[in-house]
Symmetry: C2
Subunit: 251 residues, 2 copies
DNA sequence: TGTACATCAGTGAACGCGCGTTCACTGATGTAC
DNA sequence: TGTACATCAGTGAACGCGCGTTCACTGATGTAC
């Protein structure tokens, strides 16, 4: 029932934006408005549930896109190893494991970027709820913090795997100003491998760029500017892969 | 009076977001709600006026930031020319004009980026109105298109001046997919100089990155991640200047 | 097998509020002769 | 200098609507003995 309420609320989000109406939801479900209060203590609590769900949903989308790409990589690696029968057995296993574990960083980044975009296109009201203007008079409670970082942790893993696989161009040109170093060191701790702060900074720039493009596309800033949205998005994601310093495995 | 209504409406935008109430505005002004209708035919018309004002306001902020930097550059160029008395007179004039006309592309870009951010921090509700989630049930009329592009035209001028001044690294590595070429050619026509499509693409990426960062900062996505906002913004804008290919004049 | 009781999902009326928009109006100010 | 008229900013009441939240309640279902 809780799920049914949230599903209806999500539908209304599309029409009403963040000023979601409990009465509209209850009408939708053929109930009386006060019945909602058996499941949610207030409108804000329902909103919080929707926000957490949205963060988890986009996080899952990112994880799934990454996992699919990793699975493809495993298959490809297996195929490569099987085809090349002359390879020493232990080396073959090592290659298979390495590629299976991390796949191609560039392809993983592209898969995640496209996965996030696909999710955003299919769930625009929810995207707007979490990445658009804040809901007036609503303050997100602490429970939203965890789910909020889920998608970006996928990015962190790609960075880490690229680094340990030697597929991250990690030059320290353009050193960071002192004021930022400690801050970015803290961010770097979310990456399960040792990546230099300047590279962390570039990844963060690419991440904000990704959401900047999505917001522009979904909120209408590309109208009359960019029509071939998918092609543009793909091109731009590829350029940002190079910007971050991700290198392809297969060559 | 129209201005007073808009001023009050802007104040209410902060508290209520896009679901602005005519009655709240009229109360604010000590009028009866129906009095508003002498000045705006409907709530949507008031919203449209606010949106157009906001676009013009951020556009002016960008123009002013660029102009200030250009003025500084003029002063600097005059000083340079005055100091170096051995310079041939015609060359001196040419340099002065060139630098006065276009200044330093990197500094102009930084000035505009910071100018846009300063505006956004001072006018967060208006920023949210134009770059945040679309207002439910509201469709922006065609009159908003012109003002909407004002800020980005400043960017176009910087690009053009950098190009004609030989301060734009315009390598055509990473050729564009065919599907995008014609589209970006159309965008390139907004730049009053001949700039290659791949560079236009990079500038567009940097532009979306700029707004991506602002939205993240203003809408709370940087909470618990980045605290030294100004330093981070500056660092990231400098990196993006290099990414676009802007080069400094003074060296 | 039958009775008594507790649980619990949902009802319906009401509270006090706010909203956009309409319409006929008042009363001050300016204009024409 | 004085009168008649038009303009126009703002009023006040009303329409019909929607909202979040509360509260005492009904009536079905499940549980215990």
């Amino acid at each position: 029932m809780t799920e049914e309420i949230k599903a209806s609320a999500r539908r209304h989000l599309a029409a009403d934006g963040a000023n979601l109406s409990l009465r509209a939801v209850s009408r939708d479900l053929g109930m009386v408005s006060s019945a909602i209060y058996r499941y949610f203590a207030s409108r804000d609590e329902l909103l919080t549930a929707l926000i957490i769900d949205a963060y988890n949903s986009i996080g899952e989308a990112a994880e799934a896109a990454d996992a699919t790409e990793a699975a493809d990589a495993t298959v490809a690696a297996d195929a490569t190893v099987a085809a090349d029968a002359t390879v020493d057995a232990t080396v073959a296993v090592a290659v298979a494991v390495a590629v299976a574990d991390r796949g191609d960083p560039v392809r993983r980044w592209l898969a995640v970027a496209h996965g996030v975009r696909t999710w955003a296109l299919a769930h625009t009201p929810e995207y707007a709820l979490i990445y658009g203007s804040p809901v007036p008079g609503y303050a997100a409670p602490a429970d939203t913090i965890g789910p909020a970082s889920r998608a970006s942790l996928v990015m962190c893993r790609i960075l880490a795997d690229a680094q340990t696989g030697g597929l991250l161009r990690d030059d320290s040109q353009a050193p960071l100003p002192a004021a930022l170093r400690s801050e970015l060191k803290r961010v770097a701790e979310l990456v399960p491998a040792s990546v230099s702060e300047p590279t962390i900074a570039r990844a963060l720039i690419a991440w904000t760029q990704l959401f900047g493009t999505l917001s522009f596309e979904l909120f209408g800033q590309f109208n009359n500017i960019i029509d071939t949205r998918e092609a543009w998005f793909d091109h731009q994601a590829r350029i940002m892969a190079a910007f971050i310093g991700l290198r392809s495995a297969h060559l």
